[in-house]
């Protein structure tokens, strides 16, 4: 699909948020932010591909708007980044609801959503890929790395790999781990919010070396109070294994 073609799933977050019983008024509709542009399609989902134009900043919907704005600084702070996540896409609502009549979606679009909801809820991996290409859930993590690669292992599992940015590892070892853990949590939170998978395997690498590998479950990602956890400790408690970071990090207190 060419970049300028309109993908019917473009405004996924806006439409499939919480349909059931939440009928938007015109005022709410008017407040909805612009949708993300269509995205390149290919086998697995590489986010983003070289040479591709960057995504529009800002996500539609109130909750999404509360996500941290990607910092312009080349070394953005990570204090609270992993405490936020994308709005959950409610596929059971999309499956069960009739088409909203507030004008936010055309009949054609709705047909696609409905079919996609059926496919996603039947565990169709190709549907997962389509949805990820349209929704690009990890776009707002670009300032922290631009090399996400997401693969649906099976209907229950997504595997994410990313290449850590050397400059993000240049501080202390603790800071470097904080960066990797925070990013892993955000990947898992955003992906489990988008798709009905039970777990997300996250692997961080740099120059062929594995810096972190962890498997995070959906239940945890939906129920943990992220405001109160330390990401590095949480990742360790959930079986995460950090590789050797020292070659890139400065040992300093």
């Amino acid at each position: 699909m060419a970049d300028n073609e309109k993908n019917p799933l473009d405004n996924l977050y806006e439409i499939v948020g919480d349909l059931w019983g939440t009928l938007r008024t015109d005022a709410a509709k008017a407040a909805a932010a612009p949708v993300k542009p269509a995205y390149k399609t290919s086998g697995t989902v590489d986010l983003p591909t070289k040479g591709e134009k960057p995504a529009q900043e800002g996500a539609p919907g109130q909750e999404a708007a509360e996500k941290a704005a990607p910092p312009k600084d080349s070394k953005p702070p990570f204090e609270a980044f992993w405490k936020m996540a994308d709005e959950t896409v409610d596929w059971t609502d999309a499956l069960a609801s009739a088409m909203p009549t507030d004008g936010s979606v055309t009949e054609e679009q709705w047909q696609v959503y409905h079919e996609k909801a059926e496919q996603v809820l039947s565990g169709d991996i190709r549907a997962y890929t389509d949805v990820m290409k349209a929704a690009r859930p990890l776009d707002d993590l670009k300032p922290y790395t631009d090399t996400f690669r997401v693969q649906a292992v099976d209907a229950d599992t997504l595997a994410v790999t990313f290449e850590a940015l050397p400059e993000q590892l240049a501080g202390t070892v603790a800071e470097a781990r904080h960066y990797l853990a925070g990013l892993a949590l955000r990947c898992a939170r955003d992906l489990t919010a988008l798709l009905p998978v039970l777990r997300v395997e996250v692997t961080a690498t740099l120059a062929g070396e594995e810096l972190l590998h962890v498997t995070l479950t959906r239940r945890e990602m939906h129920q943990v109070r992220f405001a109160f956890i330390d990401p590095e400790q949480y990742i360790r408690e959930n079986g995460g294994i950090f590789g050797r970071i020292e070659p890139w990090a400065m040992e300093q207190q």
Binding site: L19, W20, G21, L23, T25, D26, A27, V89, D90, W91, T92, D93, L95, A96, S97, A98, M99, P100, T101, V120, L121, S122, G123, A155, D156, T192, L195, P196, V197, L198, R218, R219, H222, Q223
Partner: protein
């Protein structure tokens, strides 16, 4: 799936075609399930105003506006309707509303604008007055301005025009949403041929079944749960049907808003489909692990033996009590009723004083919930006044004590899994018995602060001395049962006494009906049971002295026989009477002797003789201090 249309919706269809003034009363603050797809998706849960907007827009009315005396006229769903309505009545909009006061009869007041809308015949209008119960303080004390306002509304209804629309002729409608129809002045709706009152009820069984079986069903679950669990239930639809049936039963009396909260909670907590009904516990009590479901069967099997260690000589009563518990544990307590939200069990303990009624309740609490404190006792002699129900359920807003809530409702809110023991129920005022009727029937009660408290996980036990004494025609009390009667006779006479009290004296047979066959009559403490009680109490004293004072107490056989003869001479006061005797004959003389002889710890003391005839009773002892003889 065929559309399920509620009774009130059918009435709305019917009367909106023939009457210009509709009063919707009752559950108007709730959400409602939209029954057919139109401008609102079928089976969506929407507020009543949204429902009415959808219904009238789908059925040919072109201008639908909502009025409240705080905001004025507005339409949050389609502001263009408000603009057209304003043009039709010659009013101006300001920031999305037509500001208008309710009171009075000036040209710019709401009733006058409504009259204009109702009498014009260019466009079909619906004017919905929201929260109309609150426009006046009370219908009995309206000032002239209030009367004028309602008069104008009445005239508006009487002058309603019909309008030709593409869907046929439609008349202009005025709809009032009120909590109770008598919040309005009676002359406004009584004997009014142009008005119709439609009552909105909480969702019935069919509505609840539809919500959990229809299009909304998937929305009760997180996407991943639905994806992983549904294949199994597609293969086993009968199991899914059972889960749905139970859900319908457990949600008896809930509003749509509450059902929607269950739906959202289930999704948020990622509840598996098999745990659909746990979300009801989670919603009601804030926990998903119900102690009733984690009761140890092995522990229950030995319950009778365990109880007999604490309560002597009450075989039949214990058996009946355990029957109720077994019924609750096996989930069979709701089989004879469509309402499983009722309490787990109801017991009415009757019998002479001191025979173990309260003790049985405590033992039951310990067995079921692992702690005697799960038996919450209310001494009903403290609730003998007509206003005492406010102590139990909480005072209404504006009254002293409102903030404190009710003693009963607070206790159940704090611990919904408990035994509620209402001691000496016959001493409570009759108005309180009415409250109990509701608890026994519906299993829920709304306190003065508006919080609903659920009794469906409690066992309710009433105790009473009814039937033990009767009054003759002159008002003199006589013993109805005596120690020399056998248990079947005592049981029959006490039951009859209870029935007479509720049917003849109180005139409330319906209360007796709610208790059903759960009257448990405790027997007198007979001689053999009395001996067990005495032995247990003496052993307890011996054990405590040893633990606390290192005093090893022995009672010789001769002395024990003397004690037994005196303590068991009069068993009419039951176990408590034996306790009193032990205190009088053993504890008091013993403490006196220990004090006088300065035997305060570390000694062996032998009681050789009780002088029960002396006043006060005394005893002869000998003591051997550890290391010397005294």
């Amino acid at each position: 799936m065929e559309a399920l249309i509620s009774k009130w919706h059918r009435e709305l269809e019917l009367f909106s075609a023939i009457k210009p003034l509709l009063i919707l009363e009752g559950n108007v603050l709730d959400q409602y399930r939209y029954p057919v797809s139109g401008s609102i998706p079928e089976d969506s849960l929407v507020p009543l105003s949204r429902y009415l907007m959808g219904y009238f827009a789908d059925n040919g009315w072109s201008e639908i506006v909502f009025y409240s005396n705080l905001m004025g006229f507005m339409n949050p769903y389609d502001p263009s309707m408000l603009q057209r309505y304003a043009a039709a009545v010659g009013a101006k909009t300001d920031k999305g509303v037509i500001p208008a006061e309710f009171k009075g009869n000036k040209a710019e007041t709401a009733p006058n604008l409504i009259r204009k809308a109702m009498s014009q015949d260019r466009t079909a209008t619906v004017t919905v007055l929201e929260l109309a119960s609150h426009y006046i303080t009370t219908p009995d004390r309206m000032d002239q301005a209030d009367v004028n306002s309602f008069n104008l509304l009445l005239q508006a209804a009487l002058s309603s025009s019909t309008v030709r629309t593409p869907m046929g002729r439609r008349q202009n409608l005025l709809i009032l949403l009120v909590n109770k129809v008598n919040d309005l002045p009676a002359w406004f709706y009584l004997n009014n041929p142009v008005s119709q009152t439609i009552t909105l009820e909480a969702p019935d069984r069919e509505e609840r079944k539809r919500l959990i079986s229809g299009r909304a069903f998937p929305t009760f679950f997180d996407s991943a749960v639905y994806r992983t669990d549904m294949p199994y239930y597609r293969e086993h639809p009968d199991e899914l049907e059972k889960l749905r049936e139970k859900f319908v039963a457990l949600t008896e009396g809930m509003t749509f808003t509450e059902l929607d909260a269950l739906r959202r909670l289930s999704k948020r907590e990622c509840m598996p489909i098999r745990d659909l009904n746990k979300v009801v516990d989670l919603y009601k009590y804030g926990i998903s692990e119900n102690p009733w479901q984690t009761l140890s069967m092995a522990s229950l099997r030995t319950a009778k033996q365990d109880f007999e260690k604490r309560i002597k000589g009450q075989d039949a009563a214990l058996e009946r009590t355990l029957d109720v518990v077994k019924r609750a544990v096996t989930g069979m307590n709701g089989l004879s009723s469509s309402n499983t939200a009722k309490p787990k069990g109801v017991l009415f303990y009757a019998g002479p004083t001191g025979v173990g009624k309260t003790e049985t309740a405590k033992a039951l609490a310990e067995k079921l919930f692992g702690d005697e404190s799960a038996c919450v006792r209310f001494d009903m002699s403290e609730y003998g006044q007509s206003h005492s129900d406010q102590k139990l359920m909480g005072a209404p807003p504006g009254y002293v004590g409102y903030e404190a809530g009710g003693q009963l409702t607070n206790a159940v809110k704090k611990n919904p899994f408990c035994i509620l023991l209402f001691d000496e129920i016959e001493k409570a005022h009759a108005t309180i018995l009415d409250k109990f009727l509701q608890i026994l029937e519906d299993g829920r009660m709304t306190d003065g602060q508006g919080n609903t408290v659920y009794f469906s996980e409690t066992i309710i036990i009433f105790t009473s001395n009814l039937g033990i004494y009767v009054e003759d025609a002159l008002g003199n009390r006589h013993a109805n049962v005596t120690m020399d009667m056998d248990y079947p006779t005592v049981q029959a006479k006490v039951r009859q006494g209870i029935e007479d009290y509720f049917k003849l004296e109180l005139g409330r047979p319906e209360i007796l009906n709610r208790i059903g066959e759960n009257i448990v009559v405790f027997d007198y403490i007979r001689r053999d049971a009395g001996e067990h009680i005495l032995r247990a109490q003496v052993d307890k004293i011996i054990r405590r002295l040893e633990e606390q004072k290192r005093i090893r107490l022995t009672v010789t056989d001769e002395a024990y026989d003397e004690l037994r003869e005196a303590a068991l001479r009069d068993l009419s006061n039951g176990g408590r009477g034996i306790g009193n005797q032990v205190e009088s004959l053993l504890i008091n003389p013993l403490s006196r002797w220990l004090f006088d002889n300065e035997v305060l710890e570390r000694a062996a003391v032998t009681v050789e003789h009780f002088d029960t005839a002396s006043n006060p009773p005394s005893m002869r002892c000998r003591a051997e201090r550890d290391g010397e003889e005294g």
